[in-house]
């Protein structure tokens, strides 16, 4: 029993690290732009498919594939940013702002549809092989297994967090970002080019997503067009669990989600696994909205 718990925890860390990375990207966009980007997962899938197509037609190494995935995701993200979010930058803070945010979100959903169809047109089969991250045996600690991919994912999550911390607290850009998060109007008055901050944050979030996508595809060793939907849902769930708008919360939320899923699946099966996660989110939202909104208490989420 205890052995199961420990093994599940180890398994959950793999999924959890992936979710953490996804949640961080979502949170960056939500925390700074105050918008939900529904095509985040789809842009990641675009990057992954770009890399997959390349790996099917050329011989490329893993590092190149990672770079391609990130590049593809950033490119897709830029397209989304320009078309859905940039046009609404001017009207922030105005009475029409909330309709702008719904419109931006639905527009990002529309682009998600585009990415999905483009991916299917380019690679029509339902499943494609992706080069493995680590071809070999998992690590053994006594009777427990830990996949090496988990370590890569955890390492990536830690590295991304450290990077973000450095950027946010040690660079002028980070200072501008924090100013924009706290009081956008004052930041603008102080001369910060808010639009430019948004563009770079979006690119950063897309890059993180691309990295997450590469690691996920390589550790599953396969890609399907459902990756976009999956990444979006899991990223949003993890972001919610950790409290919207908080980066450490995003990481924590991702890990918690991963652990919760691993344990639920072991004891109750795959359907209950998802059911329990959704139930938890629903219950948290219903019972403790203050806890969920603690990072966004000065502004509404709409």
């Amino acid at each position: 029993m205890l052995a199961d718990l420990i093994q599940n925890t180890l398994d959950g860390l793999t999924g959890g690290a992936a979710y953490a990375l996804l949640a961080v990207g979502f949170t960056l966009i939500f925390g700074v732009l105050r918008r939900v980007n529904l095509s985040y997962g789809a842009a990641i899938m675009f990057g992954v498919y770009f890399a997959t197509w390349t790996s099917l037609n050329f011989q490329v190494g893993l590092a190149a594939l990672a770079a391609l995935t990130i590049a593809g995701a950033v490119l897709a993200g830029a397209y989304v940013e320009r078309l859905c979010f940039a046009p609404h930058y001017r009207s922030r803070g105005s009475p029409r702002a909330s309709s702008g945010s719904i419109a931006a979100m639905v527009a990002s959903f529309a682009l998600w549809m585009q990415f999905e169809e483009a991916a299917i047109l380019a690679l029509p089969k339902h499943l494609y092989a992706f080069p493995p991250l680590h071809a070999g045996e998992p690590l053994r600690f006594g009777q427990f297994f830990l996949r090496v991919e988990a370590l890569y994912l955890l390492l990536a999550a830690v590295a991304v967090c450290a990077l973000l911390h450095t950027i946010l607290y040690r660079t002028r850009f980070g200072l501008a970002v924090r100013a924009v998060i706290d009081v956008p109007v004052a930041a603008q008055l102080a001369g910060i080019n808010v639009s430019w901050v948004f563009v770079r944050i979006f690119a950063l979030a897309s890059a993180i997503g691309g990295l997450a996508g590469f690691l996920i595809a390589a550790s599953h060793e396969q890609v399907t067009p459902m990756l976009g939907m999956w990444a979006t849902i899991k990223g949003m769930l993890a972001m919610m669990l950790g409290g919207l708008g908080s980066l450490p919360g995003a990481v924590a939320g991702g890990l918690v989600l991963g652990l919760l899923e691993a344990h639920s699946q072991w004891f109750f099966g795959p359907q209950m696994r998802d059911l329990i996660a959704y139930l938890l989110i629903f219950a948290l939202l219903a019972l403790r909205p203050a806890w969920m909104t603690r990072w966004t208490s000065t502004r509404s989420a709409s």
């Binding site: 939500f30 939900v36 529904l38 078309l83 859905c84 046009p87 609404h88 029409r96 909330s98 309709s99 702008g100 719904i102 419109a103 931006a104 639905v106 527009a107 959903f109 529309a110 682009l111 998600w112 549809m113 585009q114 999905e116 169809e117 483009a118 047109l121 939907m229 849902i233 949003m236 769930l237 919610m240 919207l244 359907q271 998802d274 059911l275 959704y278 139930l279 989110i281 629903f282 939202l285 219903a286 019972l287 909205p289 969920m292 909104t293 509404s300 989420a301 709409s302």
Partner: protein, 295 residues
């Protein structure tokens, strides 16, 4: 009219119910990713009543609407305090829970030597009440659209009434509405129940049109699609969501030119449209202008 076109038109009608359901919540100020759950509740409950218990479709439809309203209240009550994205995520979680519950639903009776009823992920086949009574596709189309027209008439009546104005005021600024004495919570619950019943009606009709439903039919894509239809058609009038459904299913399914590229075209259209019209084609300003011109 060939059977394919009848099918397309019927689908437009069916999904209009769902789009109207999302629209109702939107004008009351709430964005729901979960209306597809009530669509599913209507489909499953209506289907079970007619296929397993032989309940005539009109009664089954009423029961389906009641169950849709009930489940909507189950979701709406705990989430009363939530706004914006939080509410949206709660509805998404609730809808996915409903879908998983459909996957876990195994309830089959043996009728005439065959097992009839929902069988989890294998789906629910044999909802053939309509087929068994020889209702032609054209007749069913007429039934769907008669009901839709009735619903539209109700919407138009409400929009012009005090209830409609109160509803929109709750949607635009709930604090202000509360300060002039509107019971915001009761309005929200009423809207949630009505929207749930509406989606459920669409669902039961969908189940009997298709004769087969499975949990995957009621996933998040359906929900976000219905939200998109309501938004791009316009939030100014109940014709807006219908327009949204028509644009996707009608325009693009009808034109063979876009075979294989339909989502790319539709997605691009929606994104560009929302740039210029964030509240949709028939938004409040257009509707006011139209009313002023023609009255």
């Amino acid at each position: 009219m060939d059977e394919y076109s009848i099918g397309v038109l019927t689908n437009i009608g069916l999904f209009s119910f769902l789009a109207l359901s999302a629209y109702l919540l939107l004008i009351a100020g709430e964005m729901s990713f979960g209306q597809q759950a009530f669509f599913g509740v209507g489909a499953y409950s209506g289907g079970m009543l007619t296929a397993i218990y032989g309940v005539p479709l009109p009664f089954a439809a009423l029961a389906a609407m009641a169950s849709g309203a009930l489940v909507a209240l189950l979701v709406g009550l705990p989430t009363l305090r939530l706004r914006g994205l939080y509410f949206a995520m709660a509805t998404l979680a609730a809808a996915e829970m409903a879908r998983i519950l459909f996957e876990l639903l195994h309830f089959q009776h043996e009728i005439d030597g065959e097992l009839v009823g929902p069988d989890g992920t294998q789906g629910f086949r044999g909802i053939r009440w309509v087929f068994e009574r020889g209702v032609e596709p054209l007749d069913y189309l007429a039934i769907v659209y008669s009901l839709l027209v009735t619903v539209l008439a109700a919407f138009l009546l409400v929009e012009r009434s005090r209830l409609g104005v109160t509803l929109r005021s709750v949607g635009a600024d709930p604090e202000l509405a509360a300060s002039i004495g509107v019971n915001v919570n009761r309005m929200k619950l009423g809207v949630a129940a009505a929207a749930g019943a509406l989606a459920a009606l669409g669902g039961v009709l969908y189940a009997h049109h298709n004769t087969y439903i499975e949990p995957r039919n009621f996933d998040i894509m359906l929900g976000v699609h219905s939200l998109a239809y309501a938004l791009i058609g316009g939030l100014g009038t109940a014709f807006g969501p219908l327009l949204g459904v028509l644009v996707d299913l009608g325009l693009l399914e009808g034109t063979r030119v876009f075979q294989g590229y339909r989502m790319i075209v539709f997605g691009g259209l929606v994104a560009v449209l929302l740039l210029f019209r964030p509240r949709g084609l028939l938004d409040e300003r257009v509707v006011h202008w139209l009313r002023a011109r023609f009255s």
